[in-house]
């Protein structure tokens, strides 16, 4: 009864995916969709539905990367459909200049560590995405490469340069902030 076994396997896989990745996937997709959690839920729902018909033998070992990849692609499709993304590929996407100004020089910063993710917003979208996948979603270099379609070497370079840029910005911020505000 291969079908029943397949169905049972698929059911287990979907349950596992829900338990382990539901929330993080919606968060990740919401980020791509500019904060639209409603559509992000739809995208994630579609990804789980696709999981039913995916090749379970291939997906099982790589479930996380597979789910993130499907959500990412679908979310980018949604953006393209809405004409909110005027680029045809990820290379172009990576060239997109940051929409955010470097965070201002507010003197009333309480704790720079709370602001580190605001500083992340000053990076390019490509850098932001790789950084978020690494530190918010705990993806390995290999998984990030699979999700974004970059090479592992590219991922390493992007992470390296974005962390370096962040450190520079933090140093600048530290120099500008009052003595009581420290990076914890």
């Amino acid at each position: 009864m291969p079908d029943q076994r397949d169905s049972s396997e698929a059911h287990q896989l979907v349950q596992r995916a829900l338990q382990e990745h539901e929330s993080a996937l919606i968060g990740y997709t919401t980020g791509i969709l500019n904060g639209d959690a409603e559509r992000a839920r739809d995208v994630v729902q579609d990804a789980f539905l696709k999981l039913w018909v995916a090749d379970h033998a291939k997906v099982r070992e790589n479930l996380k990367a597979w789910l993130y990849t499907v959500c990412r692609n679908r979310a980018l499709d949604v953006l393209r459909k809405d004409h909110r993304l005027d680029f045809g590929n990820d290379t172009a996407l990576s060239l997109l200049p940051s929409q955010h100004e470097e965070p201002g020089h507010q003197a009333d910063v309480q704790d720079l560590s709370d602001r580190v993710w605001e500083l992340v917003e000053s990076l390019t979208p490509n850098q932001q995405e790789v950084l978020k996948l690494k530190f918010q979603h705990d993806c390995s270099y290999q998984q990030i490469a699979e999700i974004t379609g970059l090479t592992v070497g590219n991922v390493g370079f992007i992470l390296h340069t974005s962390l370096k840029k962040l450190r520079l910005q933090l140093e600048r911020q530290l120099a500008r902030t009052p003595p009581h505000a420290h990076l914890s």
Partner: protein
């Protein structure tokens, strides 16, 4: 790259503990021998820790209806899902209503078992998918009945089963009678000699469905357009054979009824296409005619293919100024081999141009306009093209100079037409098709050409042409 350089991405990767077991000791040696690298690593680790600990928490969840839908197998998957079983147990818990329901269930099951028993003897083989249109006939094995496709019928189901059906039916027919085909059968023009019984099993399955081959031409000035329907679900990966689906069939209506009540009707998903292309070349079997092939690639990794059950119109409007008459010859669905590749829909037309196509080498004559309304390209560099169209030009190309895959598919198409009864008055025969098929000399990793050539040779031998 200088290993002691703090700008080396491997230092960051080391700090983030993502190095491979091979790289780790090498980088560790660098770091131990260069004190400045130790500080660098410490700073990176500090920042990484800050990023991790201050990472915004995600506490987002699917809605309850979305969660329910996700936990139910979508469409094709025949499943006796645990929630369904749970519901029936729950129903039994009510004592009075429970006993009534139990009796009703017993009666229903008995009837279903009886019905299954009576039906199963007529079933030749299990259906492949619940959403696939039911087979339009159940041919009793004894009579060679012709099953003609009406000219306006949408493309036939994935024709993977064709060869299987040929295997099942042809050897039982003594010559010289019409050989029945499953969906498009007609007698071959020339009487078949008794074929060796086992050789039909070697016939290739190319997934090509020819429309009624000797259907009349349509006058382009009277009715310039032809429309058909694209079913993206036919281009998805083959799902595991539905051996249990037949058993599950009688239970499906009630099961799907409950699911449909719970979930609102799905919106028709967008149809994305990777690319589309047309090609026109001379028709090998009739010098007065031209062949047009429309080729559309759809990514398999999209809702319309994987989950959707919708159809999308494909319109081909022939230019009456340059085309006298046309007819659709066949369609082909090539499912994607894996989720991240593309499936292909191919449509073939035969048309008679006004005037000579040889005069149009330079600029090309406008032959037709292909439209796939409401579809979108997957890449923004090309589209979106909502409502836009693909113009087909005929530059008078000879079939010998057409693309290799065009020639190969032409041979397949010709074979399909021959099996469908051939084209009276044309030069179409197995020898000609062999000539066409054998002009495709490049690599043939899937052995398709070899199988086609073998089939054509066998048919040529049996029919003597």
């Amino acid at each position: 790259m200088n290993p002691s350089d703090s700008d080396n991405p491997l230092i960051t990767r080391y700090a983030l503990s993502d190095l491979s077991p091979d790289e780790h000791p090498v980088v560790q040696d660098w770091i131990e021998s260069h004190p400045q690298l130790r500080d660098e690593v410490a700073e990176i680790q500090h920042l990484a820790e800050t990023l991790r600990t201050t990472s915004p928490l995600h506490d987002l969840h699917l809605t309850s209806s979305q969660r329910r839908r996700v936990l139910q197998p979508p469409l094709q998957k025949p499943v006796s899902s645990p929630p369904r079983l749970k519901q029936s147990h729950h129903a039994k818990s009510h004592s009075f209503m429970g006993s009534i329901l139990r009796i009703a269930a017993l009666l229903t099951l008995s009837f279903a078992a009886y019905w299954l028993g009576t039906q199963s003897q007529y079933e030749q083989q299990p259906t492949t998918a619940s959403t696939t249109p039911p087979p339009n006939e159940t041919t009793p094995p004894k009579a060679p009945v012709e099953h003609r496709i009406p000219a306006d019928l949408p493309p036939a189901p994935i024709a993977v089963d064709q060869s299987r059906a040929i295997v099942a039916t042809l050897p039982e027919q003594p010559s010289p009678v019409a050989a029945p085909q499953p969906t498009l059968a007609a007698a071959p023009v020339a009487p078949l000699e008794d074929p060796p019984k086992n050789t039909f099993a070697q016939f290739p399955s190319f997934g090509l469905a020819t429309a009624k081959a000797n259907s009349p031409f349509i006058n382009a000035s009277k009715s310039p357009g032809d429309s058909m329907v694209v079913y993206p679900r036919r281009l998805r990966q083959p799902i595991a054979p539905a051996t249990t689906q037949l058993e599950a069939k009688p239970l499906d209506p009630s099961a799907s009824g409950t699911t449909q009540k719970e979930s609102p009707a799905r919106k028709k998903p967008e149809l994305y296409i990777h690319s589309w292309r047309t090609e026109v070349a001379a028709c090998p079997w009739d010098s007065n005619l031209r062949l047009l092939r429309v080729n559309i690639q759809l990514p398999a990794d999209q809702e319309a293919v994987q989950i959707g059950d919708s159809d999308y119109p494909l319109e081909i409007a022939f230019d009456p100024n340059n085309v006298r008459q046309f007819r659709r010859l066949g369609t082909r669905h090539i499912p994607s081999k894996e989720l991240r590749s593309a499936g292909t829909q191919v449509v073939w037309y035969e048309f008679q141009p006004n005037g000579s196509p040889a005069n149009s080498h330079e600029t090309g004559k406008h032959i037709a306009t292909v439209r796939l309304p409401s579809a979108r390209f997957t890449t923004q560099t090309v589209g979106p093209f909502d409502g836009s169209s693909l113009q087909v030009l005929d530059r008078g190309q000879d079939w010998r100079k057409a693309r290799e895959d065009f020639r190969f598919e032409t041979a397949m198409l010709g074979l399909g037409i021959l099996l469908d009864g051939g084209l009276p008055g044309s030069k179409l025969n197995h020898q000609l098709l062999l000539e066409v098929a054998e002009t495709t000399p490049s690599k043939d990793p899937e052995d398709s050409r070899a199988r086609l050539v073998q089939a054509l040779r066998q048919l040529a031998t049996w029919t003597g042409r």
